[in-house]
């Protein structure tokens, strides 16, 4: 009997690869539960998910069974030993719980690292914030104005990226991709990470700043690229925002909860931040309505990795991680926290 793979969240763009990679290797079943109780019950003997060895997971499955928190992880049967997450950020999976299930029950987790899509969002937000293009487009589209708003002083408020400092918080794949996209615009690139990157990992024009405070003080634009965990939750609060230069720009394509939203709103109100560019929010899909009051806020609905090309590539990568686990016992993209 073939090992069973459960798809928590559909494969949409790589159905042919799914057949090709797992055909003859696994029996693939799809999440049909609409509640967590149903979900657990379906792993029982005779149930549709009985004997599942590995799970393909997308964040969208949280709408039906919730995130993969401690309760869910601990409730998975002994047979489940791998979760192949499709997506870069895996904060919806409780890694501690995966480890704590014990030596022969622990669950490996892989993600799908890759920078282009999200880094492109960050670049767009940076340009739009500096040049006030979001407001300008809205003015053109508004029936009352139909062109520029004579009351909005674009020229005084808008700046080019050339010669300005882009500070990157977290130089992983996405942060490094952004550095490469922003450099030809003539920006000075500085970064802060848990550790300084080696000379073979980053170009010489990526300047390391050894403290968060140091990074904040250098930034004309700060772009956030850290994963969400207990260390980074709320790491940019009132104190940190006020360390930034007056008139600077804050861009977040990582996770909403890294920022203290109230502190950001206060800073927009008094002009300490000249603009913000956000693709993520603390409580998606709910948006704090007070953000909408700022014409200089550039707001996207978490479209970071969502292109045909990237969604398809992620699905293929996740399925490949599944296949490698089934055949070799381990997927290549095992998340760093679970590497011993």
């Amino acid at each position: 009997m073939l090992p069973r793979v459960l798809l928590c969240g559909n494969v949409e763009f790589a159905l042919d690869e799914l057949k090709h990679l797992l055909g003859g290797i696994a029996d693939v079943v799809t999440l049909s539960s609409s509640t967590r109780t149903e979900f657990f019950a379906s792993f029982e003997p005779g149930g549709p998910y009985e004997g599942t060895a590995a799970i393909f997971r997308r964040n969208v499955s949280a709408q039906r069974i919730g995130v993969f928190d401690r309760a869910l992880i601990m409730g998975l049967p002994a047979s489940v030993r791998w979760i192949a997450h499709s997506g870069v950020g895996y904060d919806q999976i409780d890694l501690e719980a995966c480890r704590e299930r014990g030596e022969y029950l622990s669950i490996g987790v892989s993600n799908t690292p890759g920078g282009e899509s999200t880094a492109t969002v960050a670049l767009y937000l940076i340009i739009s914030c500096l040049r006030h293009y979001s407001a300008a487009q809205r003015h053109l589209l508004s029936p009352e104005l139909g062109w520029r708003d004579p009351q909005y002083n674009y020229a005084a408020r808008a700046h080019g990226p050339q010669g300005r400092t882009l500070a990157i918080l977290g130089l992983g794949t996405i942060g490094l991709s952004l550095a490469h996209y922003a450099r030809p615009l003539g920006m000075r690139i500085v970064y802060h990470s848990r550790s300084k990157k080696g000379a073979d990992e980053v170009p010489p024009w990526c300047e390391y700043v050894d403290s968060l405070e140091g990074l904040l003080r250098e930034a004309d634009v700060l772009s956030v690229h850290v994963p969400l965990n207990n260390v980074t939750r709320g790491m940019l609060g009132e104190r940190e925002v006020r360390m930034m230069k007056r008139g600077s720009v804050l861009v977040n394509t990582a996770r909403g909860a890294v920022l203290d939203e109230e502190a950001v709103i206060r800073a927009l109100k008094d002009g300490h931040l000249s603009a913000v560019g956000l693709d993520v929010y603390p409580n998606e899909p709910n948006i704090n309505p007070r953000l909408l009051a700022f014409p200089q806020a550039v707001l996207l609905p978490h479209v970071g990795g969502e292109t045909y090309d990237t969604l398809r590539a992620r699905e293929i990568k996740a399925i490949t991680n599944l296949k490698d686990f089934l055949i070799k016992g381990r997927g290549e993209d095992l998340v760093p926290e679970l590497r011993s």
Binding site: I127, A136, H159, P301, Y308
Partner: protein, 336 residues
């Protein structure tokens, strides 16, 4: 001897101090304050407020009051002894340069000063169109989160081909910006550009160029021969689902043909900073939520504007001091 004058034709926004410093002791700076063309022409006559003007700093905003520098204006300028018109802007289609040449007036523009700002705008529009970001922002602000969007219809830049129509300063800048992803780059110009890097592939025949692009970005100046250069035939030669970006001049594209192609999906979206009849925008363009439409913002930022003003003023100053400014437009050099 009456002091020669430099006329500021279209007010400076930023470079007032620089202007004082550049012309201190060299010439009297006079502001063009005419509200009508008649007043302007009268002022150029002997004894008038603009008499003894030898060099002019010109900005397109002056056209709102006195019209463009067409044959009658050029004639009056020449009569008054004007020898240099330093235009602020890369595009100088509002000046009849051939008439200026015939009348012994040299025209300069401000290339380079606009390259970064305009190329950045083109990159912004290109990303917006490939990713449907304009629609995404609007959906969010309308309380719809991302419900109206189809992620499957959006694309990354990597591996897609950008076709640059006109590889001058701005086109070349854009090529460098998108190479970071990397996009493939092809271009067409009247002649191959010797400054083009090896990864910018020259396509000699226009006919071959259209079908080679996923995204076409227009970077040619507006001249009689470039009006509707991108027309029905040309658009139909492009790949189905292509995108057109225009940060040059609206009239280079046949707008009706472009809209027809949007309507039947031959073009998936367009990103525009310029229109044939600014500030009027054809309302039919607004019917496609995936379009990205800016109100001619290309150089609408403080850094660019100041740089451009200083560059144009410097052209006038260099003319006064050395007999010539650096940025003489190509038409001034006779090809006969």
């Amino acid at each position: 001897m009456t002091q020669r004058k430099v006329m500021i034709c279209g007010d400076l926004a930023w470079a007032h101090e620089e202007c004082k410093q550049l012309f201190d002791g060299l010439a009297e700076v006079v502001r063009m304050d005419s509200q009508t063309r008649d007043d302007f022409l009268a002022g150029l006559k002997p004894g008038g407020k603009y008499a003894d003007t030898v060099g002019i700093y010109r900005h397109n905003t002056s056209a709102d009051r006195i019209g463009v520098f067409d044959k009658p204006v050029v004639a009056a300028l020449s009569e008054a002894g004007v020898k240099w018109v330093a235009h602020n802007g890369a595009g100088y289609d509002q000046i009849d340069v051939l008439e200026c040449r015939a009348k012994g007036i040299t025209v300069s523009n401000t290339p380079g000063a606009v390259d970064d700002a305009t190329a950045t705008t083109a990159l912004f529009l290109l990303v917006s169109c490939l990713r449907h970001f304009s629609h995404a922002e609007r959906a969010l602000r309308a309380g719809q989160w991302k419900n109206p969007l189809s992620a499957g219809k959006t694309h990354d830049l990597t591996g897609r081909t950008l076709g640059i129509l006109g590889l001058g300063g701005i086109g070349l800048r854009l090529a460098h910006l998108v190479r970071a992803f990397p996009m493939e780059i092809v271009y067409h110009s009247r002649r191959p550009n010797p400054d083009a890097p090896s990864w910018c592939r020259y396509v000699e025949k226009l006919d071959d160029f259209w079908g080679a692009c996923d995204v076409l970005s227009v970077h040619v100046p507006l001249r009689p021969e470039t009006v509707h250069l991108v027309g029905e035939k040309e658009i139909r030669k492009m790949r189905k689902g292509s995108i057109i970006i225009n940060t040059a001049r609206g009239k280079v594209i046949d707008e009706e043909a472009m809209i027809r192609a949007l309507e039947d999906g031959h073009l998936s979206s367009v990103g525009l900073d310029v229109y044939p009849d600014e500030p009027n925008v054809n309302p039919r363009l607004l019917e496609f939520p995936q379009n990205a439409l800016l109100p001619h913002m290309g150089t609408e930022n403080q850094d660019s504007q100041r740089k451009m003003e200083v560059r144009a003023l410097t052209n006038v100053r260099d003319f006064l001091v050395q007999g010539a400014g650096k940025d003489v437009v190509p038409e001034m050099v006779s090809k006969l």
